[in-house]
Chain length 297, copies 2
């Protein structure tokens, strides 16, 4: 029966030593040379069967892709460059050796375009369901990290693409906005940024809470994805409600005192001094209800 | 019902910003200042219910403790200092809020003595079993990382403590040998090192394979833990067999051309040029059989 050491041997064949990673996967820890000019950013994000994907429905390649892309999207949210990643996988017993290889190929498909090396991992089999954790290391590379806490009254609120209905499939195959985030942050003063994973209403709540501000979102300026309309046609929940609440869009939500409309920012509202989060329609101004994802414990 | 944001708020209260971690947990990624003199070491290691612990038997405090200590033990194996960690937790639905707090306290109990900050995390609930992944960042801090690949014929083989029978409870509550590893590596030339997680026979196999060498272990020099004797009294497998094969001792196995017996090394054998791994008893020299832990996939 294939075992974890066969899989580790295969992984190592994909991961030669480089100048930046003088000791690659295979020892107790990998060793990286870190550019002294760079701040080190780090975070961990997991994907779980039945929560973030459905192993009956989604291919291991797509599951690996999503696991890595969620972390790359966190790099985008901080305007840093992905530098390296480590991955743990809890495999259902009897998965065989092709399945984890496909997971790995999905991870690499996401990471390779950013020269983000996978420098370590841990594979184990258990009687439980598939769980993967990816830890991402990012480097500031000349751009100060953008947090959630710098939004100021008068700033314009932007998103980077159409929202809603990602559950139709987009949530598994999205493009993390790393390059766009770097471009925006190098050209303009971005005061706060987050990636849209929990849904616009909730993620805007995070920015407002951290920044001590409020916001007004203009309903007719929120870009609505075709998927949101498709879903709305089925479930009779309005397309705007999907766009505001669904989550897993992995577009960026950001604030700036500058005009970003020519470099990829779609203006959808304004940051306010009072701490209310409101939705403005042609007829009224009302609280923006949170209808996003949360894990009850 | 308590949710992940309540838990995150609690975690953040435990994790203020410092000079070394100017942006603490709570944003998309944490930000660390990295000492330019330090190599960065990184690895990930998970603990799974039914594999590395039993949630019916072990307290969440001990589960968190083990999850972190396994990673600290990897730092010991490379002779680096633990610098920071990030943690993901997949919680069974209905765990409540006290359970993950206890997990976190266990993590901190292990990490705090090393000033190893927990700088990020991801908590989610699911219909699966408890799974935790810890990523450790280590810094070389003046000592070149010790790999598995430098053992040379004629080197003496050492362990740092008695082995076997850890399943009686020691596997949940062990002391990672970080300080001892640093002392050994600063005083002597350590040519290869690994922590004993898979069992002496198998972990010695890792060193020999990576170094392209063999080894002779002297049966009567292997320090046997009382737990191995206790277990042997029950299952009629000899105490030495337990010491050689059980695993999860989390002592260090290392090689050196120098005499380490006065600074914590217990000599148990010799590295050889031929690539056999053998056990020498008073009556014979025979292949050392691998009887350690492995995950079949």
């Amino acid at each position: 029966m294939p075992n974890e050491f066969d899989f580790i041997a295969w992984i190592r064949a994909q991961s030669p030593a480089t100048a930046a990673v003088p000791i690659p996967p295979g020892d107790d820890l990998a060793v990286l040379k870190w550019d002294p000019a760079d701040l080190l950013l780090v975070g961990i994000d997991q994907v779980l069967d039945g929560v973030h994907f459905d192993s009956q429905l989604h291919s291991p390649r797509d599951i690996g892709l999503k696991a890595m892309n969620r972390n790359l999207s966190d790099c985008a949210a901080m305007a840093c460059l992905p530098a390296a990643a480590v991955v743990s996988v809890a495999l259902p017993k009897g998965s065989g050796v092709d399945y984890p290889r496909e997971l790995y190929k999905g991870l690499r498909t996401a990471a390779d375009p950013f020269d983000c090396a996978i420098v370590g991992g841990d594979t184990a089999s258990w009687s439980g369901k598939l769980a993967m954790s990816v830890t991402i290391l990012g480097r500031s590379a000349g751009i100060a990290p953008v947090t959630r806490s710098g939004a100021r009254p008068g700033d314009t609120l932007y998103v980077t693409g159409p929202l809603g209905g990602s559950l139709l499939g987009r949530h598994m195959r999205f493009s993390p906005r790393v390059t766009l985030a770097r471009e925006l942050a190098s050209r303009a003063r971005i005061t706060a940024m987050i990636d849209l994973s929990d849904g616009l209403a909730r993620d805007l709540g995070h920015i407002c809470k951290e920044s001590g501000v409020g916001a007004i979102v203009d309903a007719d300026r929120v870009p609505i994805h075709d998927d949101a309309r498709t879903l709305a046609g089925r479930d009779k929940i309005g397309p705007l409600t999907h766009a505001l609440g669904d989550g897993e869009d992995y577009e960026l939500l950001l604030t700036s005192p500058e005009d970003l409309s020519r470099c990829g920012g779609i203006p959808i509202g304004t940051i306010t001094a009072d701490q209310k989060i409101q939705l403005r329609t042609t007829t009224r101004l009302a609280p923006l209800t949170v209808r996003g994802w949360e894990h009850s414990l």
